[in-house]
């Protein structure tokens, strides 16, 4: 049986060994062992559809889908929060009117998913999935509840820090990003092989939201801000398909 101490040694040995993106080959995350490509990625010059991202609009998404607390008949349990921020491309330009999707565990650390066997209660009033379009300034906003930490089977006593899964599109295909947003000061950061698969400390910090009292609503919910910078685009803003 692999203990946290075993995993910790592996994590420590690999610290700083990768770049600003997660290492694809990261054995402390056991499920990655047989699932990562061992060959180097092959660099391609983007062409055709790769220079563009798919389009989403009001026909795809209802405004109410950005509020994860109103999807069922009652109020979900847990700490109500707002998570907001801007989606920017690698040149600092806002990514406008583009799709942002999230999914997360409930306040007890349980997912609304048949494969989640964690014996923590499901909340009949919280499903945990939402989506929205960024506005004209690249701003997204979700109303939700703070997810709980949860155990997983990577090793004995493995726990994930609380996080919200984020799926993002840019203005071209190559900017596609799926990642996780974390909460400041989580004591599980150093122990988690998924978070630590990004071996560069400054890059890891980019996934941690900040508490923002200006986003907090009186008598209602706490506020977190998280800006997301995607990679660079490959075409000029006015280019037509």
């Amino acid at each position: 049986m692999t203990t946290q101490a075993d995993i910790q040694r592996e994590i420590d040995d690999l610290r700083g060994s990768g770049g600003p993106q997660p290492r694809r080959d990261y054995p402390p995350y056991r499920s990655s062992v047989l699932r990562h490509p061992t060959r180097d990625l092959c660099q391609a010059d983007p062409e055709g559809v790769e220079l563009w991202a798919p389009c989403f609009g009001p026909a795809d998404i209802d405004d109410a889908e950005s509020d994860l607390t109103i999807q069922r008949s009652g109020e979900p349990l847990g700490e109500r929060i707002v998570v907001t921020g801007r989606v920017l491309d690698g040149d600092g330009r806002p990514v406008r009117h583009q799709l942002v999707e999230i999914w997360q565990a409930n306040a007890s650390g349980r997912y609304w998913h048949q494969r989640d066997q964690h014996p923590a209660p499901l909340d009949p009033n919280f499903v945990g999935a939402g989506r929205c379009l960024t506005d004209g300034d690249g701003v997204y906003t979700f109303q939700t509840i703070k997810p709980g930490a949860y155990p997983w089977r990577n090793h004995v006593n493995a726990w994930r820090p609380a996080h919200i899964h984020f799926s993002l599109f840019g203005t071209d295909f190559t900017q596609r990003l799926v990642t996780q947003m974390y909460f400041p000061g989580d004591p599980l950061f150093d122990l988690d092989p998924i978070y630590q698969s990004i071996t560069d400390a400054r890059a890891r910090d980019m996934l941690v939201a900040s508490y923002d009292h200006s986003v907090t609503k009186p008598e209602f919910s706490l506020g977190y801000r998280w800006d997301i910078v995607l990679s660079g685009t490959h075409r000029t803003p006015l280019e037509e398909p």
Binding site: R39, C42, V178
Partner: protein, 180 residues
């Protein structure tokens, strides 16, 4: 500038990402519908039953779709984008159109993004139509590697298996302006 790092989609992405009709870019009964499909396998050849594939492609004339509506397809509008999850056997499939070339004389391809539990970050690849048109990416690869990017024609579609690792490992792509 530093870019936000990716993280795995994990085992519970079904809660947030797949949607009804996501794999039907055109209805399966469409007169020009083809099935683009294949299996996702790991380094031991075992099925990957918790992968998600996104497809992004030109229409049959080679035009890049700019239409919205992928989440609520009307059966007429071709948005060029879809999502399919793998089943228990690692199999994914899309009902779609054969893409046209980006420019006359180019080899058409489907752009694919691969996500899975155990993949720390998404992977990009291209699934090319079989053909003779010269292509810079294919031309720069040794024949065994090149073959991993070319679909196999079938009576009603195209087969494209994705090998995440090992024997026949699919060529995965990076692009300029991405962090390594």
């Amino acid at each position: 500038m530093t870019f936000a790092p990716g993280q795995t989609v994990g085992p519970f992405f079904h809660l947030g990402l797949p949607f009804e009709g996501g794999n039907l870019l055109v209805p399966a009964g469409h007169p020009e519908a083809v099935r683009l499909h294949g299996r996702v396998v790991d380094g031991e050849g075992a099925a990957v039953p918790d992968a998600l594939i996104e497809l992004w492609q030109a229409d049959s004339t080679g035009r890049v779709p700019r239409e919205t509506g992928s989440f609520h397809r009307d059966g007429f509008t071709f948005t060029g984008w879809g999502r399919a999850q793998t089943d228990g056997d690692g199999h994914y499939w899309f009902s779609t159109l054969i893409p046209g070339p980006a420019r006359p004389g180019r080899r058409p391809f489907f752009a694919l993004t691969v996500f899975a539990r155990g993949l720390t970050d998404r992977l990009f690849t291209r699934a090319y139509l079989p053909g003779d048109e010269p292509d810079a990416l294919l031309g720069g690869l040794p024949p065994d590697r090149r073959a991993t990017l070319i679909t196999t024609r079938e009576p009603r579609g195209l087969l494209f298996d994705i090998h995440l690792q090992g024997e026949g490992e699919t060529v995965f792509l990076s692009y300029p302006r991405q962090a390594r």
